[in-house]
């Protein structure tokens, strides 16, 4: 293992055995797989080095969306995530929520901001810890405890449920909540450290006889969709884990799984309710529709799409095409979801590629089922049946939906952008793999959809060589290990590009600075005598150390993008231009903005009908932003959910996050 090698790529020596079961192995916590997300390259490098020195397997990433897609593609590829709070493309807390909902990994937040309210925000969003920058290595050495603690509670919950003791399982819920608010190694910043130690002792006493080996429930797209439907049917106030579980009817799923997921979902909705107002405003301005619920258009998922299709708003041939493109499992559902939901870029793209592969659908769908992590996917018919319930409420939105015309463009942009990323990942290491991996990455992108929680049954294995997909997706430990060891500098693509474009400016800046410094009176004799030999220190070093890494990224990105787009007969000039100008100068701090923006795109795409599928979306779509779509869609969909929930049932005051626990839920009146 290249521990401390400082290279971008690390081939880990351990093969995930740490995670898969043997927490008390000799090597523990060596090989803990950490994903660290920070837009600050300096901090990112330091953290990477620190984590490597802790003998962890580190993957670094400077864009939240890239991190999310990476997590989605590498299910169970990471044990813990460390993320900065302030990032230009996505708020760290949003990322935290996403990860909690989709991947259920422990997330540690960090920031230079140590103000109490921000730290509290971390706590309430479910962060396992909050580190104040500058982070010391001592703080990182102990992060493994969060993984252990989390797994212990997950296993406990599941175990108790299976043994039939519901009350004990409920009680187990409480400690897991308390644990979320405890601190770890960041001394002095949390007053709960003593409390945490007490809890730890309690936990250890209770868990003496239990091992931590328990497969984590993976909330796939279908599963989450079933969950959401069940919640809808019951009404958010009356959604009891027991009832939800019954409605979902997923073998192997426990009430505790549902309860913990429900807890997160409620937290999520709570966040969104605060954001939805802003989204409404944005959507109105974009689309010109007075209806406040239109903010969630882009988030229309499968069930809504079915309603729309049923309402005849989607052109029949369009729907048929989409249906044909979907996986065999739930054709209508996925087809409906495709044009509207930006997250379905992959699915749409898959569908496009699938057109000549109709007869293979069933085979692929079977294989697709295999790809799920133990979650049977036989629920589609049931889901479809349930879809009809909410259909009526969305008829009014059909007009809005039909106005989308750019969805297809974004699909292809996504494809083109996924390619550069894979090339980036492999470019530095093995050129021969480039041709292979892009396809595998595309295929492995399918799990991205599943984990994004969108009704997207065309889960990417729509590609012809589905068998390859299944091998490429993280079932292949080596593959996933490779992938996860790569540094996702795709985000740095845009930053690299912008920084390279800026270098000209920086050059002047530095030159002027240097000259200024020479004229600047120096008060220190030591440094007066020793004048710097190089004029453009910062930049020259940059040239030697950074260009090599940045140029290939840029070139790779541009070349692949253009290749892909040309192959598909799309003109992407304005897109590329927009891509390059995108990220650094326009940090997107408001997720609501993004959602509103994406809503616009969705609204306009559907109108184009089936013919315009291949047109490139005329919109700013920076390289790193294609990851945005996942997030936007996720939010959009849940916005729709919340909007729907408000429509369907009088959503009374939701219980406080702190007051919520599985025990209480069971006592709610049905």
């Amino acid at each position: 293992m290249n521990i401390g090698s400082g290279s971008l790529v690390t081939v880990p020596s351990s093969t995930g055995s740490w995670k898969s079961g043997d927490v008390v192995s000799d090597q523990f916590p060596v090989g803990l797989r950490v994903l660290v997300v920070d837009d600050d390259p300096t901090c990112l490098r330091i953290l990477e080095k620190m984590l490597r020195n802790c003998h962890y397997e580190v993957t670094k990433c400077n864009r939240a969306e890239i991190a999310l897609s990476f997590l989605r593609e590498n299910k169970n590829g990471f044990d813990i995530v460390i993320s900065d709070v302030h990032m230009p493309d996505m708020d760290g807390f949003k990322l935290l929520e996403h990860i909690g909902l989709e991947m259920d990994l422990p997330v540690i937040m960090m920031s230079a901001d140590d103000s109490k309210d921000v730290v509290m925000k971390g706590v309430t969003h479910g962060a396992y810890d909050y580190l104040i920058k500058p982070v010391r290595i001592e703080a990182l050495k102990n992060i493994w405890q969060h993984v252990v603690r989390k797994r212990k509670y997950e296993w406990k919950d599941n175990n108790f449920d299976q043994s039939g003791s519901v009350e004990e399982g409920d009680r187990q819920q409480k400690p897991s909540e308390d644990v979320d608010y405890s601190s770890s190694a960041n001394e002095g910043n949390w007053k709960n450290s003593k409390k945490r130690k007490e809890e730890e002792e309690e936990v250890e006493d209770r868990d003496d006889t239990s091992n931590l080996k328990k497969p984590r429930v993976v909330w796939s797209v279908e599963l989450h969709q079933q969950f959401v439907q069940a919640v809808h049917q019951l009404g958010i106030d009356k959604a009891v884990p027991k009832k939800i579980l019954e409605l979902m009817n997923v073998p192997g799923l426990t009430r505790e799984n549902v309860a913990s997921h429900l807890q997160k979902y409620r937290l999520y909705l709570r966040r969104l309710s605060g954001v939805s107002q802003h989204q409404n405003g944005l959507n109105n301005s974009f689309m010109g529709h007075p209806d406040a619920t239109f903010c969630t258009i882009s988030s229309l998922n499968g069930l809504d799409l079915q309603a729309l299709a049923a309402a005849g708003q989607i052109p029949a041939q369009n729907l048929a095409t989409l249906q044909a493109a979907a996986l065999g499992k739930s054709a209508t559902k996925s087809a409906i979801s495709m044009p509207l939901d930006q997250r379905n870029f992959f699915s749409f793209e898959n569908s496009k590629l699938r057109f000549p592969e109709g007869p293979q659908q069933l085979n692929n769908s079977n294989k697709q089922i295999d790809l799920l992590h133990g979650i049977p996917t036989t629920m589609e018919s049931k889901q479809l049946a349930n879809l009809h319930h909410p259909s009526q409420s969305f008829v009014g939105m059909n007009m809005q939906v039909n106005s989308t015309s750019q969805h297809n463009n974004s699909v292809l942009m996504r494809l083109s952008q996924s390619q550069p990323r894979t090339q980036l990942l492999n470019g530095a290491n093995n050129g021969s793999q480039v041709s292979r991996l892009p396809l595998s990455m595309q295929q492995s992108l399918s799990p991205v959809l599943t984990q994004s929680g969108i009704v997207d049954n065309a889960r990417g294995s729509v590609y012809n060589p589905v068998s390859q997909a299944s091998s490429m997706v993280d079932f292949s430990v080596n593959q996933s290990k490779e992938l996860q060891s790569y540094n996702f500098s795709l985000g740095s693509n845009s930053s690299g590009m912008s920084s390279l474009t800026n270098q000209g400016m920086l050059q002047e800046e530095v030159n002027s600075d240097i000259k200024g410094s020479r004229g600047f009176p120096s008060n220190y004799d030591i440094f007066n005598e020793l004048q710097p030999k190089s004029q453009n220190w910062g930049l020259q070093n940059d040239g030697s150390t950074f260009d090599a890494s940045l140029h290939p990224c840029m070139q790779g990105t541009q070349d692949v993008s253009s290749q892909l787009l040309l192959q598909q007969g799309i003109s992407s000039t304005h897109n590329s231009g927009q891509n390059r100008n995108a990220p650094i100068e326009k940090p997107m701090y408001s997720n609501g903005d993004e959602i509103g923006h994406s809503n616009t795109m969705c609204g306009s795409q559907l109108n184009s009908g089936g013919g315009n599928m291949l047109a490139v979306k005329a919109e700013r779509f920076p390289d790193a932003d294609h990851q945005n779509t996942n997030i936007r869609e996720q939010f959009g969909r849940d916005d729709l959910m919340s909007a729907f929930l408000r429509q369907q049932a009088s959503v009374g005051p939701v219980e406080t996050e702190f007051g919520f626990d599985g025990y209480t839920l069971d006592n709610l009146p049905v």
Partner: protein, 154 residues
Amino acid sequence: METNNIHDLRRQVANLRQSLFDQGYVDEQFIELEELQDDATPNFVEEVVTLFCKDSARLIHIIDQTLENHPVDFAKLDNYMHQFKGSSSSIGAKKVKTKCTQFMEYCRAENVEGCKRTFQQLKEEYTTLRRKLEIYFQYARQVGPTETASCHPK
């Protein structure tokens, strides 16, 4: 066996390093970086400082631009400066970090003149630090990696 020249050089490097601490240019975080340096990454500190300077140049440029806009977008400034503060604190750039904090206070008070004045000071501090670190690294590279992580401030 060390020659006198090497011996003098080592002492020079140690003095340079000590003065960085004594004069408050860097703080304990710099030692954290030094302790991360090992055989696998013998120039880790320099590498990180280079990263910092590259990113700082970008931030300084964009902050300059933002300060010239009318009206001044204080939210953006606060955001940029937050980034700057984060990265400067991560390498232990003490004086620069202090200026960042001052700047953010003026930002919150929406005091344009205060911001501009503080930013000018910040740029000077940053330039000075870069120059000193550059010299230090040049000498440190000549004597090899053994000298850097031995001394502690005060």
